[in-house]
Subunit: 356 residues, 2 copies
């Protein structure tokens, strides 16, 4: 049995194959997206997401094709002039670059790969400050407290959080941010093809204000139109209904298991992995400062290179992430996602220890 | 066994459940979208699409989330000033409205629902002329010859064809158009969540020219960047890999069955359905002019209303499309897609005749 400890696409949540069978027998891919059956299914998924995230009732759940799309839509809907980006890896940089490609006034604060941020000033006129909770490329986590501080000091700009490879690990204080988003092929252990935006009221207001000035906020994925549809358990276009169904089922499984307990398991396993790396004769955690270490994507520096280790582990049917971009061949990136059973984790640890 | 004769989402192509099983056992949803395994899979799908459509080698296959997204991307990538739309139903109108929402100079020629177009002049300065091969809302087909005439008379504007609910029924002369697109939940009998753009060289050139002027052509789904990736069997973002896999498998199934033979079956069944409607004591084909009748979405006028008929058929596990928008409750829309076996079609005919 192959196990994919890759930081997304990744191992499927163990219940997914059965949920796909049920979806097929219930004709989920065939029913009309305007039918009552679809609306009920959609409503169940949104409700389960609300419970997993303890989302305030005035927040909306909006579905996109990917987190990459959500970057574009946040800028398109909410930015007239200036957006500010905390960039410390490939994915936070891509959001920043999306702003450049839209010819917007985008600014950034940069940290080296593997490093957290120190406090930086935000220039006046910035409409949105964008954080990445978990840089999937480097395994650096930006602490909640760091993000919340910006709300206190800069109450006017919108605050967004890319929680792509960390959700639903973090228990957010929703009053401190305006939007958070993820894609389903990470911690939810689902096939790729769906991005989810949890969207606070200030985001919707800002998008409406921008539209009211007479400029375009896009054609079909404008937030005010999407919000109106989602309140009716509907989407603008024919959506990836199978993915919406599967996400709802996995959320229900997580709720049955206990979200708090699931978060605790992630914390415990992360600790075991970091202790293993700290004690390793040659390997070490890439992120040195413990307060910036991701709990869901654990990145290890391998001075002897990662190619042979990855091959050895693959020989044991363990697929582990390689270093990202410029770190390819130098690192391991190990997904610590909820999809893994205790037995999966034991197998991983045993094989990692054997290589040592 | 329920049969979904709805014009999308629709009945799954009969091999799809087995292909999903194979995808799961081959870990298609878990493999990295940067891996050789993914590239091979992607390449096989593109090759199968090329064969189904006998696509010229200088055309590219680009993947999106939906045909709705493709409307936006065509305008965003290719239009600086003016786009012209042939509008004769809800979907062609939405493409036109997308141009308005992008604040572009869009123009249209309108035909009443159920009617084809007569020739109209195209104003100078139009950069793109957009046709809908098959209006899913009305069952009106725009003939190839009508579209090709515009190429002859207006060689400069790009010509695009929405073939959402008709592909791969039509055997296009690719030298006469510049782009054609569809979504997979229609004739390919797949779960929704993937749109496919078949993209000729003039489209890519136009997008590059627009980008060269310094204006935005979008962030991640700009055609020149997508074309570069697709030539490497890659995508910009983490894609809906399961859908790409399933599309390839269904295309291979269609090739094994014979695309010509499949088109012939559609033609024969359409003829049987239209003859049934012509001979019906009360019902009639909505599209009166035979040269404008869709072969894949057959729309019937029911003077006594469609509600009870739809319920009666549903009681026999036959789910048929209702009239669209303003025609809801007044019409049937019957999908004549390749997913249906001879037996499925026989059951449909038998039950339709019983109601008569």
């Amino acid at each position: 049995m192959k196990r994919f400890f890759t930081p997304g696409p990744t191992h499927l949540y163990p219940t997914v194959p059965n949920h796909i069978q049920t979806a097929l027998s219930q004709h989920i891919p065939s029913i009309s997206h305007r039918s009552e059956g679809f609306k009920n299914m959609y409503g169940e998924t949104v409700q389960a997401l609300r419970e997993v995230f303890t989302l305030p009732s005035n927040w909306e759940v909006l579905f996109f094709a990917s987190a990459t799309e959500i970057w574009e839509r946040l800028l398109q809907n909410c930015i007239s002039t200036h957006s500010f980006h905390f960039v410390n890896g490939s994915f936070s940089d891509r959001f920043f670059m999306a702003g450049k490609k839209l010819k917007l006034g985008v600014m950034n604060a940069e940290a080296d790969w593997g490093q957290g941020f120190s406090e930086v000033g935000i220039p006046g006129g910035v409409e949105m400050i964008n954080f990445t909770r978990n840089e999937t490329s480097t395994g650096v986590m930006t602490p909640e407290s760091f993000i919340y501080d910006y709300r206190t000091k800069h109450p006017d700009p919108l605050i967004t959080v890319d929680m792509v490879s960390s959700a639903p690990y973090t228990d957010w204080d929703w009053s401190q941010i305006d939007a958070a988003y993820f894609s389903v092929q990470k911690c939810f252990g689902l096939p790729a093809g769906l991005g989810v935006l949890l969207c606070g009221p200030r985001i919707l207001e800002r998008a409406q204000e921008k539209a009211n000035t007479g400029v375009s906020i896009g054609t079909y994925h404008s937030f005010p139109a999407m919000a109106q549809k989602t309140r009716q358990n509907q989407t603008i276009e024919t959506p990836n209904g199978l993915a919406i169904y599967l996400l709802g089922k996995v959320c229900q499984d997580m709720l049955a298991r206990g979200v708090k307990e699931m978060r605790q398991t992630i914390r415990e396993r992360a600790q075991i992995l970091y202790e293993f790396l700290e004690a390793h004769p040659r390997w070490s955690p890439f992120v040195e400062d413990t307060s910036f270490r991701s709990q869901t994507v654990i990145v290890a520096d391998l001075p002897e290179g990662s190619k042979e280790v990855l091959e050895q582990l693959a020989g044991k049917d363990l697929i582990i992430g390689n270093g990202y971009g410029k770190m390819k061949g130098k690192q391991l990136r190990i997904a610590n996602f909820p999809a893994f059973t205790d037995q999966d984790f034991e197998v991983l640890l045993t094989e990692l220890r054997k290589i040592s």
